[in-house]
């Protein structure tokens, strides 16, 4: 009833290409954006900013980058963590070499470095596929993390071997470093994530998106309808690594504040891959849903007993938490292997015809 689409006619193709052909979707998105831009920042505590809002956005962005490569173009990658590292280290070098550079520009540029390295590691994708390609990206993962550790120029010959985010101002407001306010950082991240998400939606629904999906679904047929396979795959690697690199820069500069090479090791890659798979491969919305499930839910579960005044031993709580999240992941994958985004799509279909069964 609420979602009835009867009467919403499209009379030309242009209006059929609206981002939200159904009015209710647009309304729902407006509500979500209102919460994200107005309600959350006003209500959130320091704790909520640092453990829920900012990390969910950054992880969702990283998963979006991976999803373009794995979900849309069908090229499995296990090197996401290392490409985030490339973005973070590139950004660190940029802001230390050019201290006056606007941080937003620095982050934008650092994605380019990650994209370039992504392209280089994407070259084997024309010859190898599936699991074998995953192994090739695993090589990138190990090589890059090794490089972050051994190449001391990258961390300015720091004795600790870690990068420390300097205090950076933008238009007179501190955006990164220990003194930055969480709300400013949240808006900074939210702005970048929103812009990249819109661009990603556009690129995936047009010619390039169809090209990627064609390569994913059947590469031989894709070649025989005139798609240059190497080009399509390399564009996917480039775009994906760019987004992942930007998310890596945000990860360090607007959230962690400091990073050691092992932060970008394989557990991070897996974490982002899980977000993308559970959220739904080949979906933009899924990345956000997946990040909420994997990143935010454990934090929320942790504070629930306290909120109800129940005293639970913290290590026990941690174990219960892991069990609940694990069970949920398995349940989601059994109910709908295509992820949370598909679950939402099914619910939406049902809502459109509700209360009539047909």
């Amino acid at each position: 009833m609420l979602y009835r689409i009867t009467g919403q006619f499209k009379t030309n193709y242009r209006s059929d290409y609206a981002l939200f052909p159904v009015r209710q979707d647009m309304f729902l998105l407006a509500v979500i954006l209102f919460f994200a831009w107005v309600v959350f920042p006003l209500m959130a505590s320091e704790f909520a900013f640092q453990t829920l809002l900012i990390p969910v956005l950054i992880y969702a962005l990283a998963a979006l980058g991976l999803n373009i490569l794995t979900g849309y173009a069908g090229q499995l990658s296990l090197g996401t963590g290392a490409f985030m590292g490339v973005g973070a280290y590139a950004c660190y070098k940029l802001v230390t070499i050019f201290p006056d550079l606007n941080l937003m520009l620095a982050i934008g540029f650092s994605g380019l470095f990650s994209a370039a390295i992504g392209l280089a590691f994407g070259l084997p994708s024309l010859r190898i596929k599936g699991f074998y390609l995953a192994i090739a990206t695993l090589a990138a993962q190990f090589f890059l993390v090794w490089l972050f550790e051994k190449w001391s120029w990258l961390y300015n010959y720091n004795a600790s071997g870690a990068i420390q985010v300097p205090t950076i101002d933008m238009f007179g407001i501190t955006v990164s470093g220990p003194t930055a306010s969480s709300m400013v950082q949240y808006y900074f991240v939210l702005f970048i994530v929103s812009v990249i998400t819109i661009l990603a939606i556009n690129i995936t629904r047009g010619r390039i998106g169809r090209m990627w999906k064609a390569v994913r679904d059947m590469d031989i047929a894709a070649e025989l309808v005139g798609i240059n396979l190497l080009r399509a795959k390399l564009i996917a690697f480039g775009v994906s690594s760019y987004i992942v690199g930007v998310s890596g820069a945000l990860f360090v500069f607007l959230w962690r504040g400091a990073a050691e090479p092992n932060l970008f090791d394989i557990p991070l890659s897996f974490r982002i891959l899980f977000i993308a798979i559970i959220g739904g491969l080949g979906s933009i919305l899924g990345n956000f849903l997946g990040a909420i499930l994997i990143i935010a839910l454990p934090v929320i579960l942790n504070i629930i007993p306290e909120a109800f005044g129940v005293e639970v031993d913290s290590s026990l709580l941690e174990h219960i938490n892991i069990m609940i999240i694990g069970a949920l992941i398995i349940a989601v994958l059994i109910i709908e292997p295509h992820g949370l985004a598909r679950i939402w799509a099914v619910i939406r279909e049902k809502l459109i015809i509700w209360p009539f069964p047909h």
Partner: protein
């Protein structure tokens, strides 16, 4: 809809315009030999395809028909011989380059993009014709959208022509086999080819579906002026549809000519029915 329809366009000769008169030589295959290791798939075959005709390639299983199509659209590279297309000798090329020259094809086993809708599958056929770069794609509004709408109009014409309006939004993985074959034909037509290769367009269809498909093939040929080379096992269909027939057996050409000639050719009868040794 002020856009010119695809028919008008092809009659005006937008892409099909290759400077060749109807009945002129479009494709010529000279002494092609192809082998995989020790297996000779095609040996020393020559034939030609004239503009505007329906050319059938027939032969028993394993005769090398599909290999021949794969050679024509650049998927296999023959060891010997040359291919002349639109009057130019072809050097070894990748399949997507052959598409750029105007060769489209369908497959023996349906090769659609299963995760995409019918509309998107056919739109994919126009990838090569869409030119707006990534920057415009990311902005979407403006040139990229105009281009998308323009090509969508053409694709909708093809959807109307093939009578598949009702499955426009259905993921093709969920469609019955006959409709999948039709969508595949649509995708090939969307490429606005001057030579259309059909690999067993009627395999596994019932009589009604075969009649529909035959009608589409004839209409594509007569209305759009598209030259068609097809492989088919249903002899009734082949004899009715095609202008000229090439018969292959064990990688060799055993007959070439009009349907009546081929039907009465002793070698062809022997190849199909077998001869006592």
């Amino acid at each position: 809809m002020n856009q010119p329809s695809i028919q008008a366009d092809i009659q005006a000769g937008v892409r099909a315009d290759d400077g060749i008169e109807k009945g002129g030589l479009l494709l010529q295959v000279d002494n092609i030999s192809l082998s995989f290791g020790g297996v000779k798939a095609i040996s020393n075959i020559s034939f030609d395809v004239k503009k505007g005709e329906i050319r059938a390639i027939i032969g028993p299983n394993g005769a090398g028909k599909t290999s021949m199509l794969n050679v024509i659209n650049g998927f296999y590279h023959p060891q010997e011989g040359k291919i002349t297309f639109r009057g130019k000798e072809r050097i070894s090329m990748r399949p997507h380059e052959a598409v750029g020259q105007g060769i489209a094809r369908t497959f023996q086993n349906v090769a659609l993009f299963k995760g995409m809708s019918t509309l998107d599958n056919i739109m994919t056929g126009r990838s090569e014709l869409m030119k707006k770069n990534m920057f415009w794609q990311m902005l979407w509004h403006g040139p990229a959208l105009s281009e998308e709408v323009e090509h969508r109009t053409r694709v909708e014409d093809i959807i109307d022509f093939l009578e598949i309006q009702h499955i426009r939004r259905t993921p093709v993985g969920n469609l019955p086999y006959g409709l999948q074959k039709r969508v595949e034909l649509g995708r090939a037509l969307a490429m606005e080819p001057s030579l259309l290769l059909l690999d067993e367009p009627m395999a596994g269809m019932n009589l009604e579906e075969k009649e529909d498909m035959s009608r589409f093939i004839i209409e594509v040929n007569q209305q759009f002026g598209t030259t068609i080379a097809l492989i088919e096992h249903d002899m009734g269909v082949v004899m009715d549809l095609s202008d000229r027939i090439v018969v292959l057996d064990y990688g060799k050409k055993i007959a070439d000519g009009a349907p009546e000639e081929v039907r009465n050719n002793q070698d062809v009868i022997d190849a199909y029915l077998g001869v006592p040794h």
